[in-house]
Amino acid sequence: MSGKKQNLSGIAGLVCVTVGGILLLGLLFCPIQAIARDIKVGIIDCYSGPPAVYAKDALNGFKLALKDINKKGVLGKKIVFTTRDTKFKVDIALNMAKELVMREDVDILVGTINSGASLGVSEAVAKKEKVPFIVWIAKSERITGEKGHRYVFSTGENTAMAGKAGGVALSKKPYKRYWIAGDDYEYGHAIGNAAWRNLKKLKPDVEVIGKSWWKPGEPDLIPYLTSIMAAKPDAVIFCTGGRSMTNVMKAIKATGMAKKVPIWIHTATDHAVLKPLGKEAPEGVMGTMDYHFYYPDIPSNRAFVKAFKAAYGNPPGFPAFHGYITAKFIAKAFEKAGKINKEKFIDAMEGLKIEGPTGTVEMRACDHQAVLPMFLGVTKYSPKYGVVISSNIVTLTGDEVMPSCQEIMKARHK
């Protein structure tokens, strides 16, 4: 009996030592594994509901760039990513971003289409936890403007740039009495204010004769358009995006509004909006975009479009372009930094230039905003593509449409 007991305690002891040893070894190896791991990018975006079409497009662009990047690697490592669905909600976005930083230990955060969520994550996660956050679709100018800081970047155009482009375009026209209408949320008001601010500066005698704001996604816009036309403005600025944009375009077509009143809508020339409408899209609407798969028609853009089509079946939208250059920026910045370190990454990003499908894109050092041109065009049916596209495109360079560094700094210290 006693022998057996001894035996048992011996076995128990052996088990203890072995388990302890494994644990110790694990402890020794853990840090080594952490150093040897890949570069981790955490993506938060809205993959459910109407905004999903843009979020998926951005992700596809990002994945396409990673395919090339990971062939040769960055600092001998691969860039890997993990995604989280924000469901277009600020609180979920914050939780997901925190989870990615705390549990997944991501090196960089990327996202999202929602301006409110992007501002929240920028403030409460990126700035607080000192994790670089690259915004790739959300268009609020406050992200890299007054709410900007060391840890937030934007690889997409914003309302300040679009508003300036719209202001510049409209100031050259003879219209004086304007009506402003749009979606009653952050983006709608931001784009409306930006366009009006710029237009008023360039042409002080313009006036707003009326405004209408509807809830985002409002299905029936006919009453709004009817009352706008009844007021007979010289021109209308619509401040809308996403699925509301499709509704607006349909209502414009149904009421024949484009034939009666000149209209400017930022992203009216977006392929994601125009394609589903087919021949139903109204012609003669002025719009601005920072990317078209058919313009500029240069070899690098053609190659990008061809690769994207081969991989995902449809041409890239502007989010795909943003996703693509985001991946390029991340890879090149880490290479320049020479090691995987968040602060070094930020230093490397500032002023960094990459070759994108439409030419060189610079990450402006002062405000962390990618310098992108705006393409101003008018919707017109294209027999070549079988849909309405942007025509008579005028390019406004990034320097022309972006607020100056001084203006940004003034806004930040207000």
């Binding site: 459910s48 509901g49 109407p50 079409v53 405004k211 009844a230 149904a254 009421t255 589903p276």
Partner: protein
């Protein structure tokens, strides 16, 4: 805060028409919801999802056939697709739950809504879709000096047709009368030897058919996307509540109030137009908490 400058008679007239045409879509959807509420006592939160499926099915039929035949075929087939989906849901799931309390039914239909939404995403994807009305419904006509889309005229005609059809059905056919009787007293209907379970199945499918019809009718005027269900379901429930639960004519009255206050709100105070229909709902409920017309509950 500036209001629209000239509120003329012509503007009022054209906005009345616009509001009426919107009310027709709301009526078709909410009458289905009201019917299900009345007969089955089920607050079907998934009704909006069925409306969305109606719109997406219309898109599929339209793109497969094309042209004006495609449009009319979509208008017929899409509601039938929705009816088929609801029939399966009723026979396999709902029919086991009628004896449960309302909270359980509410939770169940909520779950069904989430499942249907994801199914739509799996089947049709996240892209925006759009269909076109036939050429003779395109463009606009001049009424009261402002342009009014021809398709909305069609909607103005479609609403009353559906209303009359429903009235004839519930008042002139045997199954319709039984369904109405079941709404008032289901035990009595069972006691006279009628299979209440099948009456319920029928009523449920009819209600959902109307959701599908609403979705197909609205499809040419909006972008067909995920999330279009959430917009309509809240409005439909409000309409059913102010009209009187389960009352078909109540759904009509509620829809008219909702559609017209919204349209006039846009005319009078475009910046805060969203508030008008909801304010109307609050006023109605304060004055008549059980709805304007007699509730069957």
């Amino acid at each position: 805060m500036e209001a629209a400058h000239a509120v003329t008679f012509a503007a009022l007239g054209s906005h009345l028409l616009v509001g009426l045409s919107r009310a027709m879509i709301l009526f078709i959807v909410s009458s289905g919801l009201s019917f299900v509420l009345g007969v089955l006592r089920v607050p079907n939160v998934a009704h909006g999802s069925l409306y969305m499926i109606g719109a997406f099915s219309a898109y599929t039929v339209f793109t497969a056939v094309g042209g004006q035949t495609g449009f009319w075929l979509a208008l017929v087939l899409a509601p039938l697709v929705v009816a088929a989906v609801s029939f399966v849901a009723e026979r396999s799931l709902f029919c086991r739950l009628y004896e449960r309390e309302h909270l359980m039914l509410l939770l169940f239909t909520f779950a069904l809504m989430l499942i249907l939404d994801d199914l739509v995403k799996i089947i049709w994807g996240a892209d925006y879709r759009s269909i076109m009305a036939p050429d003779y419904f395109k463009g606009s006509v001049n009424i009261f000096g402002s342009s009014f889309p021809k398709y909305n005229l069609f909607l103005l005609a479609a609403g009353p047709v559906v209303a009359v059809g429903l009235w004839l059905f519930t008042n002139r056919t045997k199954i319709g009368k039984i369904a109405r009787a079941a709404a008032v007293d289901r035990e009595m209907v069972g006691a006279v030897g009628i299979n209440v379970s099948w009456v319920f199945a029928f009523a449920f499918v009819l209600g959902c058919f109307l959701a599908g019809l609403g979705g197909a009718l609205v499809a040419p005027t909006v972008s067909i996307t995920l999330g279009m269900d959430h917009d309509i379901i809240i409005e439909a429930f409000l309409i059913v509540t102010i009209g009187g639960l389960g009352n078909m004519w109540g759904a009509m009255v509620g829809s008219l109030i909702f559609g017209i206050t919204q349209s006039f709100g846009v005319l009078l105070w475009p910046q805060f137009a969203i508030v008008f229909p909801y304010a109307a709902v609050v006023i109605v409920l304060l004055a008549r908490p059980t709805g304007l017309l007699k509730s069957v509950w």
